[in-house]
Amino acid sequence: MAGPWKMVMDNISRDRLISILSPLMLLLLWEALVRFHLLDYRFFPPPSTIVGRFWELLVDGTIPSHVAISLFRVFSGFLVGAVPGVIIGLTMGLFPVIRAALEPVVAATYPIPKLALLPLMLLIFGYGEASKIATIGLGCFFLVLINTVAGVVNIDKIFLDVARNYGATKRDYYLTIALPGALPMIFTGMKLGLGVSLLLIVAAEMIGAQNGIGYLIWTSYQIFRLEDMYIGLVLMAFFGYFFTMGLNSLERVVIPWKDPKS
């Protein structure tokens, strides 16, 4: 018994070790290549300087303030887009008449790249937070909306019959059938929405902001401070990773009924 089990354990810890070591090796290689002038340090500043600079900006409060404002914009935009996306999506999914009325509008506006709307948002909402939040909101809205509608439409019709037979009110259809039934798809939409939010926040802050991680990346390009730019890139990567992790754990908590086999 111990033999095969031990082998599995060995494999797991070996794989984990490799997955920790390989990025470290890559960083070491990078450092070495720059030191030996095989890589141009102006484009690829060595990881040791980036880490040093990171510490500097962390302590003087520059990074925390950029991170805070970017997070605020992403989460506000996400909420502003996802909440109406879910509500309108459930309504379109439940009522074929409303779906028929709104589907052409959605189909026509969805393909517009949301970034292309940023100038319009700047004109409407001005240079303040609202324009950034609105742009991100639009990006999330459509993804959440479309996935929610699909989620409701794909709910087995038998469950609607059950609700009707047991005397469900309109509100009951929303809360006991459409919302829980579409929840897995709503999560799909939210994950896609968060991905798009990261894209939009960087672009919006490069064009129309005086702070945030996108602004950090853009100004470091203009003054040619590439350590700062790499810090911005790494921060974005971390955000993407933690947002996805967060949504995944939230999903496990709110969908405990999900059949692991399906």
Partner: protein
């Protein structure tokens, strides 16, 4: 038995229009007295589900008349046990069983107590917190039966609830159903394609023709209650009634498989 609970007169149902129109029910008439356990027996595709869904108000009738007597407005008129698995996957067994009570605005504590009572009655006490995907087919249908009964409707509509179960489970659930139903004075319309089941459960059997569904025979099943499945199977009157029903049903089954009735409405 008291006055009629259900009156159906000349009921018809057409699905679709024009070339694609299908006549599913044609001139169906019958009356169900209060408290009767009525079985509707017919070959598959004859319109049994359609008839039940019209009784439940889930489907519109095309023609004819239909009256369900609702005596007590505080009590729901009907609750249905569906043919397919119909438990809401996102609710626990307890919440599924309490669903009807929740829709009726009964406070959480009371509905939970009542739901637990019925979950125990169908022998699933320890699964109250499980989700449907963790249950076997037989357990799911037990929960469906409990969900309908706990709602305390005047009429129970049951659409082949045990058809997909293995023989042993089927007999067990039929026994449980009779045990729960006896003494409730609830009117039951129970759809099945099994002669055994109809004879064991019903006070009366309505035999339907193959599509379009019509009432072919109206057969009284007067075995005394409570009924014992083993005893009934060895009763010569059971055998005689079985032969009679099978004789009539066979014509319908053969009719569909050999002659292949035209599936469309003549002249439309």
């Amino acid at each position: 038995m008291e006055g009629p609970k259900i009156v159906v007169r000349g009921l018809s149902k057409v699905f679709g229009t024009g070339d694609k129109a299908v006549l599913a029910l044609d001139d169906v008439s019958f009356t169900v007295p209060k408290g009767q356990f009525l079985c509707i027996l017919g070959p598959s595709g004859c319109g049994k589900t359609t008839l039940l869904r019209i009784l439940a108000g889930l489907e519109k009738k095309t023609g004819g008349h239909l009256v369900l007597h609702h005596e007590n407005p505080a009590q729901p008129l009907n609750s249905m046990v569906f043919q397919e698995y119909s438990l809401l996957p996102w609710l626990t067994v307890l919440d599924n069983v309490a669903y009807g009570l929740r829709m009726r605005g009964i406070p959480p504590r009371e509905r939970e107590a009542r739901a637990r009572g019925f979950i125990d009655k169908v022998g699933l006490g320890e699964f109250a917190r499980s989700y449907p995907h963790q249950l076997s087919g037989g357990m799911k249908q037990r929960v469906s039966v409990a969900r309908a009964f706990v709602n305390d409707p005047e009429i129970l509509l049951m659409d082949e609830p045990f058809a997909s179960l293995d023989e042993q489970n089927k007999i067990l659930l039929q026994q449980e159903l009779l045990r729960i139903w006896e003494g409730t004075n609830k009117t039951v319309v129970y759809v099945t394609h099994s002669i055994d089941e109809a004879l064991y459960l019903g006070d009366r059997i309505l035999l339907m023709t193959a599509r379009p569904g019509r009432i072919k025979r109206d057969i009284e099943v007067s075995f005394p209650r409570p009924r014992d499945f083993k005893e009934l199977k060895t009763n010569p009157r059971f055998a005689a009634l079985f032969a009679e029903v099978w004789g009539a049903l066979k014509e319908e089954v053969l009719g569909t498989t050999l002659k292949e009735r035209p599936p469309r409405l003549a002249g439309t």
